[in-house]
């Protein structure tokens, strides 16, 4: 598909999602997947600052725990933190550069170990304030062009709008309330991965795949379904287990 067509598809998806009652985590995850397709990167994550100004992962293109942990490592170091603090994008950072590993001694080897060669960070901005960052990783050493960076910024802006647009079950009357609800939803999802993994004797990643497939096919919001499960108000036997389950 030509890039223009892909882009059109993304913006139609975005418009659709934001009109209806939509699930934020699921939306950001799809958006991360689109980033990977459109920007020719290997992985993408959406990071949001919490009330302590610490970045937390809200969604990633690939929900595997290893990638989530790599983003989590960026709570106090790495390109996303710098981007969040400066409010400016940092692109085409070569992870093999000794200056880079010196600047971020924990993050850099972990990223290399995951097979990434370069990384980029794009700020998520809200009326002059920075609320988080989009993290992009590449495995082939290719670079982001200026046009790519502009597109990445547009996608980061879409993510910001989505976070502030979510209609929650609660009355989140303030922007801070919206941000906090988004972060809480993410944690509930991780707790539920653990609950399902243990009930089904699979890995959390496998549990999540089955959970997401069920939620999508039954038009449940991921966050809402996760809350019901965590509160013991949903019979998880209804969810078909992952194909890998014995």
């Amino acid at each position: 598909m030509a890039r223009e067509q892909q882009l059109t598809k993304v913006f139609v998806e975005v418009a659709d999602s934001l009109i209806d009652d939509f699930d934020l985590i699921d939306f950001l995850q799809r958006l991360s997947e689109r980033c990977v397709e459109l920007l020719d990167v290997a992985a993408c994550g959406v990071l949001l600052a919490d009330e302590h100004d610490v970045l937390q992962v809200l969604a990633a293109s690939d929900e595997n725990t290893r990638l989530l942990e790599l983003f989590a490592l960026q709570y106090d170091q790495g390109p996303c933190v710098e981007c969040y603090r400066s409010g400016r994008p940092r692109t085409n950072i070569d992870l093999a550069d000794p200056n880079v590993s010196q600047a971020w001694p924990e993050f850099t080897p972990a990223a290399l170990q995951s097979g990434f060669l370069s990384t980029n960070a794009i700020p998520m901005r809200l009326r002059g304030r920075v609320i988080g960052a989009l993290g992009l990783f590449q495995t082939r050493g290719n670079t982001l062009s200026d046009a790519d960076t502009a597109l990445a910024q547009a996608l980061a802006d879409v993510a910001t709008i989505a976070i502030l647009q979510q209609r929650t079950l609660a009355h989140s009357e303030t922007e801070r309330g919206q941000l906090q609800y988004a972060l809480t939803s993410r944690i509930v999802l991780e707790q539920v991965k653990g609950i399902l993994a243990e009930r089904w004797q699979v890995t959390p990643d496998q549990a999540f795949a089955a959970f997401r497939a069920y939620a999508r096919s039954h038009h449940h919001q991921l966050s809402h379904l996760a809350r019901l499960i965590a509160d013991g108000e949903f019979d998880t036997e209804q969810i078909p287990r992952s194909p890998r389950h014995r």
Partner: protein
């Protein structure tokens, strides 16, 4: 950014021996947040809440009232996992909290701000700020209150277990940023058939007693190299997969 006043409150909270001795800290927190009083209610299973902090009678009466009636900004914040800010109770739609509206009329509470305390699906309780005069909190005060609610939740869940000889606790503050800790909490809750907060407490207790970081212990649990038993001990060995049901 946390204000200097709130930073001081958090320092005192760290040093304090227990919730009971924290009355002065609560008063200082209310002053810092620019309100007349505040309460901290801990959820003790079901919808019942236990009042842990209460700076004054007005704040306490308001908190009692909304939990007796089961309606109001506090119960709403707990149910919805989101803060509920009411800068002027007189301007609230009458049908939102009909009973509270009638009963609270005699109390010296004009503005009320409620902040849920919890970690994901773990609901610990709620921090409620009460002011005699109408008006919103500043953005900085909302941020301060969120940080306080978070610190109180962590405290209720045992995050500030002092180490031996007053050393730092075994897990650092950033442990809760790791997906693996939340995943392990969910797994332990099923393994031991306990609630999520209980499961997190067991994990922390195990990490503390074995002198290992919470994230390491969590990784072992998720990889099924470690399984906590009912006493909260782990045998460190992979368990044969038990056939549940």
């Amino acid at each position: 950014m946390i204000s200097d006043g709130m930073a001081e409150v958090l320092r005192l909270l760290q040093r304090d021996e227990g919730f009971d001795a924290a009355a002065d800290v609560a008063v200082l927190a209310a002053v810092t947040l620019g309100v007349s009083g505040l309460t901290v209610s801990l959820a003790t299973g079901g919808d019942r809440a236990e009042l842990m902090w209460c700076t004054d009678e007005a704040a306490g009466s308001f908190e009692d009232l909304q939990f007796t009636l089961g309606e109001g900004p506090g119960p709403e914040a707990v149910r919805g996992d989101a803060m509920v800010l009411v800068p002027d109770l007189a301007l609230v739609r009458p049908e939102r909290w009909p009973a509270l509206r009638v009963e609270a009329a005699g109390l010296a509470a004009r503005a009320v701000f409620c902040f849920p305390m919890g970690i994901g699906a773990i609901r610990v309780g709620v921090l409620t700020l009460v002011r005699r005069t109408a008006g919103p909190l500043t953005d900085g005060q909302v941020g301060d209150a969120q940080v306080l609610a978070h610190a109180l939740a962590g405290r209720a869940l045992g995050s500030v277990v002092p180490g031996p000889n007053g050393a730092a606790p075994a897990d650092s503050a950033d442990a809760l940023l790791h997906a693996v800790v939340h995943q392990a909490t969910g797994m332990v809750s099923v393994q031991l058939d306990v609630s999520l907060p209980q499961a997190l407490l067991r994990l922390r207790a195990y990490a503390y007693s074995s002198g290992r970081p919470l994230t390491d212990v969590s990784r072992d649990v998720v990889a099924r190299r470690l399984r906590l038993d009912l006493n909260g001990n782990g045998d460190g060995n992979p368990l044969p997969v038990s056939d549940k049901d």
